[in-house]
């Protein structure tokens, strides 16, 4: 990866009392990179991610996201990134169109521009006949793809995805990754967590956190080479089985 650094962390640390949830992690993620952020339950992934998206103040270390400092410019970070959480975050009792308009409005996308982006989003997802359908009657897979596109409605340079494909069917899971590839091809940085180890193979680089520490970070090919195994599942197992900590 040669693009500009969009996410930078140095010795980033979070302590809760005597407990060190995230222990001095270093990270540099580039424009257009798909970065897999892996770890066992309780390894500190969520805490680290919360610091990077401006929701949690670090205890020590430094981090800049989209050029903004996590200590002093967290509001600017929130405006510059997209975020899709584990829990479905769109409104089930609003229609497809209403959801897009709502989030477009929250992020301050100008009306004419929002209309243009809405049209292209609806076209790309094949939702033309469903713009006035309430989300509750759409299949989960469609909703997840819509949630991704809505998280990108303000055209952020970085998108954070927290287990975006949990419970989704096999084909939708792949279609979802094609949305990720397409975003990456446009230069968007994709920061993604997952429990599906085949998805770890789709990332340009992946890191694995164990007990708050960054235990490994490299391309999937290099990690497999380093651990002399054939799959990312094996790499993960080798590293994470020694974990002392649970959630």
């Amino acid at each position: 990866m040669t693009g500009a650094i969009t996410i930078h962390a140095k010795a980033l640390t979070k302590r809760f009392g005597a407990f060190t949830a995230v222990d001095a992690i270093d990270l540099d993620v580039h424009a257009g990179e798909i970065f897999g952020f892996l770890g066992a339950n309780g390894a500190g992934k969520t805490t680290a991610m919360k610091m990077l998206i401006g929701l949690l103040m670090p205890t020590a270390g430094e981090a800049r996201v989209a050029g903004y400092d996590v200590y002093t410019q967290s509001e600017a970070i929130k405006r510059s990134i997209g975020y899709m959480g584990q829990r479905f975050s769109l409104y089930n009792d609003l229609t497809v169109l209403e959801n897009i308009q709502f989030y477009g409005g929250v992020y301050g996308v100008p009306p004419a521009e929002l209309k243009r982006r809405t049209d292209s989003l609806v076209h790309d997802l094949g939702l033309k006949e469903h713009v006035n359908t309430r989300l509750q009657s759409l299949p989960l897979g469609w909703k997840q793809k819509l949630a991704f596109s809505v998280a990108m409605i303000h055209e952020p340079k970085i998108i954070f995805l927290d287990e975006p494909t949990g419970g989704v069917d096999l084909i939708t899971r792949r279609q979802f990754w094609e949305l990720i590839y397409a975003a990456s091809a446009k230069g968007v940085t994709v920061f993604v967590t997952t429990h599906y180890m085949d998805e770890a193979e789709y990332c340009h680089r992946a890191s694995i956190m164990v007990d708050g520490v960054m235990a490994a970070c490299d391309t999937p090919a290099a990690l497999k080479e380093q651990f002399k195994v054939k799959t990312m599942d094996e790499v993960f197992y080798q590293l994470a089985r020694s974990a002392q900590r649970a959630e």
């Binding site: 299949p139 094609e178 397409a182 429990h195 085949d198 197992y237 974990a243």
Partner: protein
């Protein structure tokens, strides 16, 4: 041990299960595989007598689950998809409660749970609500086992669990199976299919196929290839445009390609090279359960 015979179920306009039939012999580890909303939980709730079917019958150890629900309830261990133990009772209290409900004692069947409970014992006095996800899962399994059931019904026990804990959980299931317990388990993870004796592929309420993982993949009726290259996404877009190909999907490090008939690989190589893809490795491969499932979904 369990026979599901032409079961259908509707929730209003939604057909949750459509004419599903499955048979699970004694001592088998059977996996029901499918995404959210496929109907896995609906089927399991019928087997454990918590929900009635619209049509069809289910027998459990030779007893009808509706007319003889008491026999089922005495002999089934059920672990629902959401944690449903008592959060404000301790680990030990939960276990003792479930034993007493089934008129037995923890001591009497301790050998069955010894391995699993051993990992929980240091936290015996902790409230169940304060346990980690992995620990909760182990406690729920102990509580489902404490009356020595004939059948264990486990609804997505590994969803949201990390890859290491998932492996440990399947090790536990293997040991329980070795003790003669019939196990019915559901999962959205395809890699767990290979760990089952037999599986059923469920999608939108329909059982697409059931059988051993080997038998199921033997039915794959089109040529399948893997393509590996450095930049898979541009290659994927290019392959999708070729008329002789049926489907192209990412599969871990490779792209899997199905074709209408056998491909002329040298010609395909040449065409891809012409388009600027010079580092593509192409080879025919054997299908996995996931290939077949995706093929049946389309």
């Amino acid at each position: 041990m369990i026979t599901v015979d032409h079961i259908s179920k509707r929730y209003g306009p939604v057909e949750a299960l459509k004419d599903v039939s499955i048979s699970v012999p004694r001592g088998e580890l059977f996996g029901l595989i499918g995404p959210d909303g496929a109907g896995k939980t609906t089927l399991f709730r019928m087997v454990v007598t918590l929900l009635l079917a619209d049509s069809g019958t289910i027998t459990f150890d030779g007893h009808d689950v509706v007319s003889d629900y008491r026999h089922v309830r005495r002999n089934v261990g059920y672990m629902p998809g959401t944690f449903s133990l008592y959060q404000d009772l301790s680990v030990r209290e939960n276990l003792e409660f479930f034993a007493s409900v089934f008129q037995t004692t923890v001591k009497k069947n301790y050998d069955l749970i010894a391995d699993i409970y051993g990992m929980l014992e240091p936290f015996a006095d902790r409230r169940a609500g304060a346990l980690s996800g992995g620990m909760k899962q182990k406690l729920a399994l102990c509580c489902a086992l404490i009356h020595k059931p004939l059948v264990l019904v486990l609804d997505e026990p590994t969803t949201g669990v990390d890859a290491v804990s998932r492996r440990e959980f399947w090790e536990m299931l293997k040991k329980l199976k070795a003790q003669g317990i019939t196990i019915l388990v559901s999962t959205p993870y395809m890699d767990e299919a290979a760990l089952c004796d037999r599986i059923g592929l469920l999608q939108d309420g329909k059982l697409l196929r059931s059988g051993s993982p080997q038998d199921i993949t033997a039915n794959f009726d089109r040529p399948l290839y893997a393509a590996i290259c450095k930049e898979p996404y541009p290659l994927l877009l290019a392959l999708r445009k070729l008329p002789e190909l049926d489907s192209v999907f990412p599969f871990g490090t490779a792209l899997h390609i199905t074709a209408k008939e056998q491909l002329d690989l040298p010609a395909l190589h040449k065409e891809l090279a012409r388009q600027g893809f010079s580092d593509v490795e192409l080879q025919p491969i054997e299908p996995g359960v996931e290939d077949l499932f995706m093929h049946l979904m389309q």
